[in-house]
């Protein structure tokens, strides 16, 4: 069971929404548990958010970032959506410099991040809107 900090700004809310999607799922927990890495995600046009994986916790920061960041990921909102909706393959994105990554050499970290984040994002995107309709079915 992973606990995820509640977001209070647009981007963090989004990241939280995505990551929470699998917080009870075995594989996800195994990936995240004790990963203990700091990833800085920046959506161009908005602002960077630091995602801190700390044992069984995921926290976020939008300022006073830590000195030591394991991975820096930067992309535009359209790349973000294209990746989520499977219109763009992450590897291609990296080569096309649409997905800019600092720390490419730490290939392990990168791959794990992709498993944790990009994969989850795609699962969220492909999920039918059920849960929403659940939450106000009585009103439709």
């Amino acid at each position: 069971m992973i606990s995820i900090q509640k977001g209070e700004d647009l981007i963090t809310i989004t990241l939280q929404n995505i990551l929470s999607y699998r917080k009870n799922d075995e594989d996800f927990i195994n990936l995240v548990l004790n990963w203990n890495k700091k990833v800085l995600i920046e959506l161009e046009g908005f602002y960077p958010v630091e995602v801190i994986f700390d044992h069984d916790e995921i926290r976020f920061k939008i300022k006073d970032f830590d000195k030591k960041i394991n991975l820096k990921v930067k992309m535009g909102i359209y790349t973000f959506l294209d990746l989520a909706y499977g219109r763009l393959n992450p590897i291609k994105a990296v080569f096309k410099r649409k997905l800019k990554i600092k720390g490419l050499l730490k290939i392990g970290t990168l791959l794990k991040f992709m498993k944790i984040f990009l994969k989850t994002m795609k699962m969220v995107a492909s999920d039918p809107n059920n849960n929403y309709y659940e939450l106000n079915k009585e009103t439709r």
Partner: protein, 493 residues
């Protein structure tokens, strides 16, 4: 706040006799004077001062109401029409007591849907949810339009009070979507207005297709808040339901840049509906009790809904929208345009309640209190309005919640600061009302015209309106309702 002019409404007849008469007209089970039953009708979501009605009646036909009106008119008893009490202006609070007529329970039939001339003939109690369901199931190629209101709000009340819906950028105020009315006037006469006006007692169901071109008697009942008669039937226009629909979300950085963005896009005449909300509102949807805006976050989110008959037409419209946004960014605006459905899914599905109307707009109903300054606004004043109102919100340190729309291809705008608060928390209501009054003064000074107006607001307006208008208004009210029985107190009557 609303002053309730004290008026003894039982000079001419005793309460007991009134009850007797009501039971005679509506039968015992449809009449009540038990305070337990009366209480819920004595207030609404707003801070407007509550007042108990003396009776609730549940009518099922016009004949009963004719009898009621004649009776009330000769005995000077107030009549207050009520559908679901969802208005945000204390419009159905019986300021002088009297009889509250609840249409929502039994006079809520969809009488006719005209497939060819595209209208629906409704009783006053029909709700948005009910109409949508009926159309989706029986006339999937037709649609109505829906406001920023829960599905259990009333359709007829919304049009009679010039509400605005999610086709507003195309069709404008709902006041222009009314094809016809059946009304009971003070003398108990039943009047059919609009193209349905032929025929002695009944009109053919296929005759409710237009408001004009005969002398326009309909105005006498539009935006009058029930002060001129009791509406018993209303025909509203429907629209073709195009196969392709999509909503775009414009994320706008910079406090006032949303104004030119909305103005420019509305004039392209390709958008069904344009609405914009403060970013804080988007965040409210995610259950942040008191959301604050962080630097780097955009200021407004604007939604553009596009529909089309064919792919080609949709692409053409999309292209026009993209070009418009591109131009705006070239001119130094900072706008990011994304597919709303895609974005919302990643962001948080609860936000969909803004997209799929009618729906319970969660951040609103999760509070016990709700009030607003809802107004028609000059679109060239939007920048100034946003800035000044935002300041006021911050001064009172209340989360800014601004909702805007562009109407009828950009001919005018809607400016609506909204406040949610906790009704039962000591001092809360007063604090919010103070802010609301300050907002009202600023907006009216800038030319905004409030709609669904509570009495304390019309009082402010009366000081600014030209005397000729006031005279004509008073003259007409007196003449339509000499004994002031129809929803007295509205517009300080």
């Amino acid at each position: 706040m609303t002053e309730t002019k004290d008026r003894d409404i039982y000079e001419k007849i005793s309460k007991e006799d009134v009850l007797k008469k009501l039971t005679e007209i509506f039968e015992e089970r449809n009449v009540t004077n038990k305070s337990g039953d009366l209480y819920p009708y004595s207030y609404d979501m707003t801070e407007c001062e509550p007042h108990m009605p003396d009776f609730i009646v549940i009518p099922e036909n016009a004949l009963q109401l004719i009898e009621l009106v004649k009776f009330c008119n000769s005995n000077l008893i107030p009549i207050v029409p009520f559908i679901s009490g969802n208005n945000v202006g204390g419009l159905t609070i019986p300021e002088n007591g009297g009889i509250l007529v609840d249409f929502g329970k039994k006079m809520n039939k969809i009488l006719h849907v005209d497939d060819n001339m595209m209208y629906a003939l409704l009783e006053p109690g029909v709700t948005f949810g009910q109409l949508k369901k009926h159309l989706d199931e029986n006339y999937p190629h037709l649609r109505y339009s829906y406001p920023f209101a829960p599905p259990y709000a009333g359709v007829v009340g919304n049009v009679l009070l010039s509400g605005m819906n999610n086709l507003s950028c195309k069709i404008g105020s709902m006041g222009d979507s009314i094809n016809g009315l059946e009304v009971i006037t003070a003398d108990g006469e039943i009047v059919r207005i609009g193209s349905c006006f032929y025929g002695k007692d009944e009109a053919a169901p296929d005759s409710w297709w237009c408001r004009y071109p005969m002398p326009d008697l309909m105005g006498v009942f539009i935006n009058w808040q029930g002060m001129t008669g009791l509406v018993t039937k209303c025909a509203v226009q429907l629209w073709p339901n195009p196969p392709i629909k999509k909503t775009y979300l414009a994320i706008v950085f910079g406090l006032t840049d949303v104004a030119p963005v909305m103005r420019e896009v509305s004039r392209t005449d390709i958008i069904d509906d344009i609405s914009a909300v403060s970013i804080e509102v988007v965040k409210m949807a995610v259950e942040l009790p008191i959301p604050t805006k962080f630097s780097g976050e955009p200021d407004f989110a604007s939604m553009f809904s596009i529909s089309a008959k064919t792919k080609k037409q949709f692409k053409a419209k999309e292209e026009i929208l993209f070009n418009e946004i591109e131009n705006l960014n070239k001119q130094g605006k900072n706008v990011i345009l994304v597919n709303a459905d895609e974005f919302v899914k990643l962001f948080n599905l609860r936000v969909r309640c803004y997209l799929d109307l009618p729906s319970v707009v969660l951040p609103l109903v999760e509070y016990s209190g709700l009030t607003w300054f809802g107004s028609y606004a000059p679109s060239h004043k939007l920048e100034e309005l946003i800035e000044k109102v935002n300041k006021l919100f911050n001064k009172h340190n209340i989360t800014p919640f601004i909702y805007m729309k562009m109407m009828k291809s950009g001919h005018y705008a809607i400016f609506r600061p909204i406040m949610r608060y906790n009704k039962f928390k000591e001092g809360e209501e007063e604090r919010y009302h103070m802010l609301l009054e300050e907002i009202t003064d600023v907006c009216i000074d800038l030319g905004c015209i409030p709609y669904k107006t509570p009495a304390w607001m019309t009082e402010k307006m009366r000081k600014k309106i030209n005397p000729g208008w006031i005279n004509l208004f008073e003259k007409l009210k007196k003449f339509m309702d000499p004994n002031n029985i129809f929803n007295p107190g509205r517009w300080n009557t």
